[in-house]
Amino acid sequence: MEQGAPELPPGLLAEPLGGLAADPVAAGDEEAAGIGCGAEGRLAGSGDASMTGGSFWSKKIEITVSEAEKRTGRNAMNMQETYTAYLIETRSVESSDGQSVLTDSLWRRYSEFELLRNYLLVYYPHIVVPPLPEKRAEFVWHKLSADNMDPDFVERRRIGLENFLLRVASHSVLSEDKIFYLFLTQENNWKETVNETGFQLKADSRLKALNATFRVKNPDKRFTDLKHYGDELQSVISHLLRVRARVADRLYGVYKVHGNYGRVFSEWSAIEKEMGDGLQSAGHHMDVYAASIDDILEEEEHYADQLKEYLFYAEALRAVCRKHELMQYDLEMAAQDLASKKQQCEELATGTVRTFSLKGMTSKLFGQETPEQREARIKVLEEQINEGEEQLKSKNLEGREFVKAAWADIERFKEQKNHDLKEALISYAVMQISMCKKGIQVWTNAKECFSKM
């Protein structure tokens, strides 16, 4: 029964935990039991088809990943390790005056975020699950550190994690998930809770998925197109980020070399009577120019991060397509199996052997079977056929519902993507404009100094 649950269309409370995990959670977690509103909401929502009724959140919430801290601890192998922990604060907003009250606050590390996401991927295969910020710094240009402990990297990661949580929280389906809720509220033993759902076991094997991709005959064309789009998107954004990093590198060089003028002008001004003042002040402006690139490129990193999010979203898109292909393949296999069984049945019933079969061979070799035997076999087959048809029907239904649900989310995703990317491009233009204005100012000042020499 667990099987069918994940594929419910949005709107119904997804019950990945079902009744199974509810008890351990209620037993082991005081907080969850304590939040009567939440628990009630969940229970109330189990049979309820409405969205609002099933929410853990009675009020609007604000989530922030407000701090990052270096920690040391012992890992699974009992070895000392250093990692960064992030403080997640949840506030509920009083709708009347907009004031927010801190309701929960706990620390999580990156691996826990990963766990949450993997869980969501398994239980919501029809959803384009928001991606996490990158595990390791990629597309770095030389001044940017590739070190995970580097404060700038940590800061950008903090922002990325916050973004992730906000995306999940604003998703109509994902926000209802209990594990997500517990992630924000249950500091201790959350990991155990997740693992107890047994989601790792439910995950589709990569091999199976790969196999399905190659062998599926009639996937929904929209998904095939979507898969290609995902590939394109990933390809183009990777390339973009790579070249952008190189451009940033070069631009950095241009600006910084100008700084050398500052020093030399200063030295030179010491021996010049009339030119001295002009040189000196021009040199100062060269220093300003050289220093300005740091902020400019810092801002551009945010733009790069926005693009990166969609780079990783491409993978999420492909995951949904893979699931569809898997289900479709499964369906096709089931249909094929049913068809062959039916054929077998027919052959047995009519006595004709149209296709080569072992039975046919052995009967030729060893003689025909008795009518009773044949009857028995036909009976078994007919049972299997009936079962198969039932299964096929439900698989079909599942499949169609999956497609419907997935496509709805994909449409939602498309809207979001178009909006976000457009914003990103606009903000990029704004950054360029700001850079140009700074440049004009510095060089106008420098020109004035030069003309006074």
């Binding site: 789009y229 394109e232 998107l233 183009v236 954004i237 390339h239 973009l240 070249v243 952008r244 190189r246 451009v247 590198d249 070069r250 631009l251 060089g253 241009v254 070399v257 100008h258 050398n260 003028y261 030399v264 030295e267 030179w268 010491a270 021996i271 009339e274 030119m275 002009g278 021009a282 498309k414 178009n418 909006h419 990317l421 457009k422 491009l425 606009i426 990029y428 233009a429 704004v430 360029q432 404009i433 140009c436 204005k437 440049g439 004009i440 060089w443 106008t444 420098a446 020109k447 030069f450 003309s451 020499m453």
Partner: protein
């Protein structure tokens, strides 16, 4: 035909009494000293051969270049010439009479005294007879001071007008006549209109140029021995001492080197403009690639024009020969002068004695030396930095070129974002083009100027050394005087001469130094101001591009926002 021209000129002069009288009167009334080098043509040893004629060799390396025509009434000139040495006597073109009579531009103006010790160099300025002439007596200035004399204006003595009676001069001219035939571009007119106008101008603008030189049209020449490049040197002038108003010759780098050497010889303490380098050590694959040739051409052009603008150097005889002589003329002219060995001997002596010269160096020159040292350091750094910036910008440009097209590529798979993505791509491409222009501007304005001053700093160091060496010569004689009492008289006379020489050299240097500094300030200021301008313009272009993109986006965006608020 030149001879014909000369005949015309002669009769014209005689036939225009009014003008002639005016000119003569001006000459007679002028306090200007005639050209010191107006000695009789029968004094080959002290004089530079006249234009075109391949005759008298130079007597010493320091003999001033002597103008074309000599006045018979200047007996002392030879002496003066000999004494004048040290490059403090400016080279002069003697006016051939019709041009510049009242307002001869003068390089160095003799203000007071005839002993050549207190002249003040002035910027190239044709002035009124009085002004242009500076010091100098009336027509008979040549008789004023046997020891004096040089300087300024080239107003002719009335004796000059007897030229047509002077057989030697005629000969000179006739030689010229045959040579003139070879000069393919000499116009038929004997004088340019400008030269005639000039006589009526008593107050010319201080900076009116009368010598225009261009260097262009590089051509490759292949012989069995070597391959080399020649450049076309075109000269347009209204100066009278030039036989024509337009010249076109071809010169190779070696010829420029020769000219520079000659100028340095003649004026060891003047700041001779730099030549582009002989070789570029690193990164040169092919000796004659186009960029190299173009850069060199520009630098050679600048070199000649700087000489033309220099109040003293512009009248140098070798300079004139360089501008006007045909190829074979030039090579025979080059062969004159002290031989290689004697020049080498000088160099050895120079090196040996320059160290001694430091001891008694006047304070101001020590300051100058210090300045030059620091200046050299700083300008070299600026040269390095500027080249580095050029390199970084080029690499930035190369990366940018790839960046824009990616957005275009992306737009192919995004139907709703096509406009935005293509817009960004177009902005980046425009900025890319602006970057390209910025790079070109940098290489055309700032880099050559900075590099020229790097070369100048080396030249300055050489000038300082030579000054020290001249001083050292004097110092060694003075020292010798204290030991060798027996040769007192001889030594004293030598010392007297050397003192003059040192004084001359110092004054020449001081004056040229001030001029150089002024020019340097202007050039540097201009170059950097220009660079700043170009950068401002670059950013303005990019700004406009992005702002126009933004307006297209936000117009659409506002429409969308009104529907759904994220």
């Amino acid at each position: 035909m030149y001879r014909g021209d000369y005949e015309n000129w002669k009769s014209w002069i005689q036939g225009s009494p009014q003008w002639f009288a005016q000119g003569v009167t001006a000459v007679a009334a002028s306090p200007v000293q005639p050209s010191p080098a107006q000695s009789s043509p029968a004094q080959p040893s002290a004089t530079q051969p006249s234009f075109g004629s391949a005759s008298a060799p130079r007597s010493t390396a320091l003999t001033p270049v002597v103008p074309l025509l000599r006045s018979a009434a200047d007996p002392g000139a030879g002496e003066r010439t000999g004494r004048g040495g040290g490059g403090c006597v400016p080279s002069q073109w003697a006016s051939s009479g019709e041009s510049k009579l009242p307002g001869r531009p003068s390089g160095l103006t003799h203000t007071d005294g005839m002993d050549g010790e207190s002249w003040v160099p002035q910027p190239f300025s044709p002035g009124p007879p009085g002004g242009g002439g500076g010091g100098g007596g009336a027509g008979s200035g040549s008789g004023e001071s046997p020891g004096g004399g040089h300087g300024a204006a080239v107003l002719l003595q009335p004796e000059v007008l007897d030229l047509d009676e002077d057989e030697d001069d005629l000969e000179v001219f006739s030689k010229d006549a045959s040579l003139m035939d070879m000069n393919s571009f000499s116009p038929l007119m004997p004088t340019s209109p400008l030269s005639m106008i000039n006589q009526y101008k008593f107050e010319d603008e201080p900076d009116s140029k009368d010598l225009f030189i261009t260097v262009d049209n590089p051509e490759s020449h292949i012989t069995t021995i070597e391959t080399f490049i020649t450049y076309r040197v075109t000269t347009k002038t209204s100066r009278g001492e030039f036989d024509s108003s337009e010249f076109e010759v071809r010169r190779r780098y070696q010829d420029f080197l020769w000219l520079k050497g000659k100028l340095e010889e003649a004026h060891p303490t003047l700041i001779i403009p730099p030549l582009p380098e002989k070789f570029i050590m690193k990164g040169m694959v092919e000796r004659f690639n186009d960029d190299f040739i173009e850069t060199r051409r520009k630098a050679l052009h600048k070199f000649l024009n700087r000489i033309a603008d220099h109040p003293t150097l512009t009248f140098n005889e070798d300079f004139k020969v360089f501008l006007t002589a045909q190829a074979w003329e030039l090579s025979s002219h080059k062969k004159q002068g002290p031989g290689l060995l004697s020049r080498m001997g000088q160099t050895v002596r120079a090196v040996a004695s320059s160290v001694r010269g430091v001891k008694n160096r006047p304070e101001e020159f020590t300051e100058m030396n210090d300045y030059v040292g620091t200046f050299s350091q700083e300008i070299n750094l600026i040269d390095k930095i500027s080249h580095r910036i050029y390199k970084e910008e080029k690499e930035y440009f190369e990366e940018m070129k790839e960046y824009g097209p990616i957005y275009t590529w992306w737009s192919a798979s995004e139907e709703d974002l096509v406009d935005s993505l293509k817009g960004v791509a177009s902005c980046i491409d425009k900025c890319c083009k602006a970057t390209e222009r910025r790079i070109v501007d940098l290489s055309e304005t700032l880099l050559p100027v900075v590099h020229e001053y790097v070369l100048y700093s080396e030249i300055l160091m050489g000038v300082m050394k030579r000054r020290d060496q001249i001083q050292a010569e004097l110092d060694s004689r003075v020292e010798a005087l204290t030991y060798k009492k027996g040769e007192k008289e001889v030594l004293t006379e030598e010392i007297g001469k050397l003192e003059d020489k040192v004084e001359c050299a110092n004054n020449a240097l001081k004056a040229d130094w001030d001029r150089w500094k002024q020019n340097m300030q202007n050039d540097i200021k201009l170059a950097f101001t220009d660079m700043a301008e170009k950068n401002i313009s670059y950013y303005e272009q990019c700004l406009a591009t992005w702002e126009s993109f933004l307006t297209t986006q936000t117009d659409l965006h506002l429409e969308e926002i009104s529907e759904d608020k994220p």
